[in-house]
């Protein structure tokens, strides 16, 4: 009766994918790791992240999170803090994964540059069975992560932590080794490398072609950051002006602030809305004391005695022209001066192609990027591949990682003459926005704030400002996730069109459209599971494999060694939505270990009454159901369903001649407090009398 | 009016324009004929014809036809009651032939209370035909000498003065007069109404009836019944189908029962109702239903100044 692949007719789309997954450049299973956190399955969540993402600690901190921009919870209140949840996993649950490889291949692959693209390529190639060696010109790994991202945003330990796990796969990193000087394409070939992947990134700062750019005090952004990141200091004056509106400009400003000049300001072409970085970053920069000048363009750098004294600016008319190209225009005669004794250029990065001397065969663009075949990632020279910023010209960390991952498969296919596909890149329709009329039906739960270092302490140091989620906060944040694209679906072969699901859904999602004979559940499904339990034909299931509705957890309890020694054995079915409010979840678990085993489900509405019967069948002496009260219910009114179902179950049990004290239902405010402990002890007492 | 159809005393009286009295005699829940004989002795002379109920409220009692014969032997004129609940059309026609052969001349046709009210709620309710179809069937037997199947009778036909019941207090109220018309069209010669306590509502119904001229096509006897106690009043109000007991009556009986004067008050109320309905246009008589209290009938008839009964 059960089938392993969802099937449906005609226009019923059931392979719509969550927008967070499709927005991610590396197609991370964002929704699924969030769902695992929501259920307290942290190690599984970390392993899931790691399956696709080799740099979770770094991503969790500095990714631009396009997933959050597309998160469907933007329609209800605010997106899920997907990136911060990834950091939570990387910081607390990292472990070595994947000990067994499918098969080992003889080829050695050289990767130039231990930045995001190179690390991702090495990670995936190692998993495919290749020996990889990364050649890194710096003494430490990370590339732009280490050079350009300040430590108050990305501690070095986070980078190193991620890289450690990549090395555990067998990847070797040779530091202080530069291509073109320490090794060359020829030397690598002679050493037996079958393929070379160039992922050197864009290490130069772009410079402005204006008067005064070589005055003393005019600094290159990336060099400035690198210097501070490595030495903890840099030579700046008292009045710093950063030119640029992106993440690097913000990094420069906030880094400069920590060096305690009198003033730090930022001037950029873009209006506040147009700035190409996250609101959070901009707000933190202003919060820390930088002054922001929007919509001004640099005309010339003013100087006196060979030193910078200020920047002459023009008012911006527009940044992007009608064809949406970057083509800024200015108002004539709108000159004005911003005073500064230090100017930091953070207007983008450029490549340094000096290593190509001696290997002219590699074609490059006029802008200084390497040309590659978009499918094979091969350059114009056989056996040499490239990817990352050096190919893209500009990109985010995750876009670089995506390049590395795609290149790894491409290299593998070329070497093995195969056509392996990563199906995660395939085109899928996206779950559409929530229908407006449903938004009021969904409980509003605001995004949890990231605890940060108090502002008065920040500028004294370069310690990490964002402190990370606590366990309870992480779970509660993850529990806001609506499980888009992985909710309930109807098996057309089993559905009898009885309309039960249509009538019971609190969000009015299932429909039997005119002309159809079976029900259809669309992407607005909130995964409450009520219809799954109510369906008389058992035709509805969850698309997600992560939800067992309590079944596996219950069975696992009885696999426990010495479980028969727990007397009287009480199974407590509880709702995970109110289990992370106050105390640590372990507290109750440990306090009652001699009598109780807990089966937590993300929403008790998913539990079928026959599972309560099963608990008794497997050997429970008592079953205690603790559900949430109406005011705290995540799905707004499941209480009446729990009441109805437990009353029905009690009736069935009575009909079997069972003492009804053995099955109790209570509604509690918290699954972890005194209430639960009291209820359990009372039940233990009751059971002694039975 | 028209010619005598059955030759019964009741019919003659009514057709001569006299105010008629009928009363109820409940057959026993046993096979003892002496019970009926005793009741007959009590009632003799105080009414013009006497209804023998047919398993009233679906409780098993001696059959109406058998009891009717016993009553005839005692010198009283019976009105046989026939419900549709317990017999199909074959049994009904057979019983009617037998009743006529035994001397019955008056017949009240009823649907019958649902079996759930009686002492055998598990019994199958037959309801092969309803009361209107029964009336029609009896009329065709009498006037056309044909069975319901259309075949002709071989021997003499039963000649019944056909009666029907009507409940002025049932719903839909507006339809009740039309339903009465339907019964009369089907062949009803006389009507006995459900027990009246709510006289104003009864007047409303009679207005509809007389507006349709139905009082000129059939004789209407108003149903009355003396209450014994507040308990009986309550029982009638809640447990007996089709009854309308106004709060005023309930209150009077409650007060009287408390003062141990239930029966007196009950008779008093009954007499008040009789007095009022006598004045209503279209009423040709009263039907006294003194359930298991046949002794009350002589008192009521006397106090209503309707004794002795006229002869024709």
């Amino acid at each position: 009766m059960a089938i392993d692949k969802p099937c449906s007719k005609s226009d019923k789309k059931i392979n719509e994918e969550a927008p967070c997954i499709l927005a991610c450049p590396i197609r991370q299973d964002a929704r699924d790791y969030v769902q695992l956190i929501a259920r307290g399955r942290f190690s599984e969540a970390y392993r899931l992240v790691r399956e696709r993402n080799p740099l979770p600690s770094a991503c969790g901190r500095i990714c631009t999170h396009p997933c959050e921009t597309k998160c469907r919870r933007n329609s209800t209140e605010s997106p899920i803090a997907i990136a911060w949840l990834k950091r939570f996993l990387g910081d607390n649950f990292s472990e070595e994964t994947r000990k067994n490889f499918t098969e080992k291949h003889p080829e050695k692959i050289a990767i130039i540059g231990a930045g995001p693209a190179g690390l991702a390529a090495a990670n995936d190639l190692a998993l495919l069975g290749y020996s990889c060696t990364i050649f890194e010109s710096n003494p430490t790994p990370g590339g732009m992560l280490r050079m350009g991202v300040p430590t108050y945003r990305l501690p070095r330990t986070a980078i190193d932590n991620d890289v450690e796990f990549i090395k555990k796969l067998g990847v070797e990193i040779k530091y202080n080794t530069t291509l073109g000087t320490d090794v060359t394409f020829d030397s690598l070939k002679k050493d037996g490398f079958s393929a070379i992947f160039i992922s050197v990134g864009l290490l130069e700062s772009r410079t402005l072609n204006i008067e005064g750019v070589s005055l003393e005090g005019a600094l290159k952004g990336v060099s400035f950051l690198h210097e501070v990141n490595t030495t903890g200091n840099a030579k700046i004056g008292k009045n710093v002006l950063v030119i640029g509106g992106g993440a690097v400009a913000m990094d420069c400003a906030r880094t400069a602030l920590r060096l305690k000049p009198d003033k730090v300001s930022v001037a950029c072409l873009e209006s506040r809305k147009e700035m190409p970085t996250t609101d959070f970053e901009i707000e933190e920069t202003i919060h820390e004391g930088a002054i922001l000048y929007n919509s001004v363009g640099p005309k010339r750098i003013l100087g006196k005695n060979g030193r910078v004294t200020g920047l002459e600016t023009l008012k911006v008319k527009y940044v992007f022209d009608e064809q949406k190209r970057f083509n800024p225009a200015f108002y004539e005669g709108s000159e004005s001066v911003i005073e500064a004794d230090t100017i930091i250029l953070a207007i983008g990065q450029a490549s340094n192609l000096s290593f190509l001397k001696g290997q002219e065969g590699i074609q490059v663009t006029r802008g200084g990027t390497i040309i590659v075949n978009p499918n094979t990632f091969s350059t114009s020279v056989q056996g040499i591949y490239a990817g990352g910023d050096i190919v893209l010209g500009r990109g985010t960390m995750t876009e670089g990682m995506a390049q590395g991952k795609k290149a790894a498969i491409a290299i593998h296919n070329t070497l093995r003459n195969k056509a392996l596909q990563d199906e995660k890149w395939s085109e899928k329709p996206v779950v559409p926005d929530i229908v407006e009329s449903r938004v009021p039906l969904i409980k509003k739960e605001q995004k949890h704030d990231m605890p940060t270092m108090p502002s008065d302490k920040r500028l004294d140091n370069f310690e990490e400002v964002e402190l990370g989620f606590s366990l309870n906060t992480a779970v509660k944040e993850a529990q806001r996730c609506m499980n888009c694209g992985a909710g309930a679906f109807v098996d057309d072969n089993l559905c009898v069109g009885c309309l039960t699901c249509v009538r019971v859904c609190p969000f009015e999602v299932p429909k039997i459209k005119k002309g159809d004979t079976t029900a259809y559940i669309d992407g607005d499904c909130q995964s409450c599971g009520l219809c799954i339990v109510e369906c008389p034909a058992k035709a509805i299931s969850f698309k997600t494999p992560l939800e067992d509705r309590g079944k596996n957890t219950l069975e696992a309890v009885f696999q426990e060694k010495f479980i028969q020694d727990v007397k009287p054995m009480i199974i407590n079915f509880y709702c995970q939505y109110s289990a992370y409010n106050g105390d640590k979840i372990d507290t109750v678990h440990n306090a009652l270990f001699s009598n109780i085993r807990r089966v937590g489900v993300l929403g008790l509405g998913k539990v079928d009454p026959s599972l309560y019967l099963k608990a008794f069948e497997l050997g429970a002496r008592g079953v205690l159901v603790t559900a949430c009260k109406d005011d705290t219910c995540h799905f707004c009114n499941e209480r009446e369903w729990i009441e109805r179902r437990t009353k029905y179950t009690a009736q069935l049990l009575r009909g079997l001649g069972m003492d009804i004290k053995r099955f109790q239902t209570h509604f509690v405010s918290s699954q972890n407090g005194k209430e639960i402990i009291d209820l359990t002890f009372k039940m233990v007492e009751d059971l002694r009398d039975v | 009016m028209t010619d005598n159809k059955s030759g019964s005393n009741l019919e003659k009286l009514l057709r001569s324009g006299k105010f008629a009295i009928t009363a109820e005699l409940g057959p026993p829940r046993g096979a003892d004929r002496s019970v009926i004989e005793k009741k007959a002795a009590l009632l003799k002379g105080y009414g013009d014809a006497f209804n023998l109920t047919d398993c009233q409220t679906a409780v098993v009692r001696m059959s109406s036809i058998a009891a009717g014969r016993i009553v005839l032997d005692a010198g009283l004129e019976p009105i046989i009651q026939m419900t549709c609940r317990d017999r199909n059309r074959i049994a009904i026609q057979s019983d009617l032939l037998g009743a006529a052969a035994l001397g019955a001349k008056n017949l009240l046709c009823l649907t019958g209370d649902h079996q759930k009210f009686g002492d055998h709620p598990m019994a199958k309710g037959v309801f092969d035909i309803d009361s209107i179809q029964l009336i029609q069937m009896v009329k065709i037997l009498r006037d056309e000498k044909k069975f319901q199947s259309g075949q002709e009778l071989k021997a003499s036909e039963p000649k019944f003065f056909i009666g029907a019941a009507e409940n002025p207090f049932a719903d839909p109220f507006k339809f009740r007069a039309i339903r009465l018309a339907k019964k009369i069209t089907a062949g009803a010669d006389f009507i006995q109404t459900q027990i009246i306590y709510n006289v104003p509502k009864f007047k409303e119904w009679m207005k509809m009836v007389t507006d349709m001229g139905l009082h000129e096509k059939a004789f209407i006897l108003a149903g009355v019944a003396p209450l014994k106690s507040a308990g009986m009043a309550k029982h009638m109000k809640h447990n007996v189908p089709g009854m309308d007991v106004p709060d005023e009556v309930m209150n009077r009986m409650t007060a009287a029962s408390a003062a141990k004067k239930g029966k007196e008050e009950g008779i008093k109320i009954c007499l008040e109702v009789i007095e009022q309905v006598r004045e209503i246009k279209g009423i040709s008589g009263v039907h006294i239903m003194a359930v298991e209290w046949e002794e009350a009938v002589p008192e009521i008839v006397q106090q209503a100044k309707l004794y002795p009964r006229p002869t024709v």
Binding site: M1, V504, A537, L656 | D128, I129, I132, Q133, D171, G242
Partner: protein, 224 residues
Amino acid sequence: MIVASSKPFQEIKQMLSGFKKVCVLGCGSCVTICHTGGEKQVTEIAAQIRLSAKLEGRQVEVIEDSTLRQCEWEFIDDIKEIIKDCDAILSIACGVGVQYMAERFPKIRIFPGVNTTFMGGPTEQGVFWERCAGCGNCILATTGGLCPVSRCAKSLMNGPCGGSKNGKCEVSQETPCVWNQIYDQLNTQQLLATMETIVPPKDWTTGMENHPRKMILEHLVMKK
């Protein structure tokens, strides 16, 4: 559709006592829609049988299965293999399905797990009312689309009787008097005159009186 209600578990337990390998068999048609014979109910009843056995220290093996319809030979033949070693089958299909099973598998004891009650439908989730008695001679054209055979306690043709009060049947305060409803309906459609006509006694030969009834469509019967 056919509506059936669950038998009390004690009765089921009694029927199945002594049998060691039992199959609980559901039906994907009417009884699924009225939530008494679908796969979900199969699971529930099987769970009760197992738990009851466990509580009393008995052994019983319970198999759970379901057919698309139990009133089709082909569909019940499909489960032949599954049930062949069973010594009892609790069918929670309607009485029709139970009989098909009994006829097809005469060697196995077949027990009915539901009480088949009436032909009707849901008026709201969880509430089912009788609508049709299968009299075989439909008169709905004259009664405004409301059936007095199935909805009048006395199946009157010239109703209502004297027990109709406040729109309710004398049998129960919860039961609407259908003749009252017919009156209102015909009134709305300005067809009240219909109710003044005397409806003659019904021809019951097409109804229950002539068990077992059958219908043959000659143009569908295939000669062997």
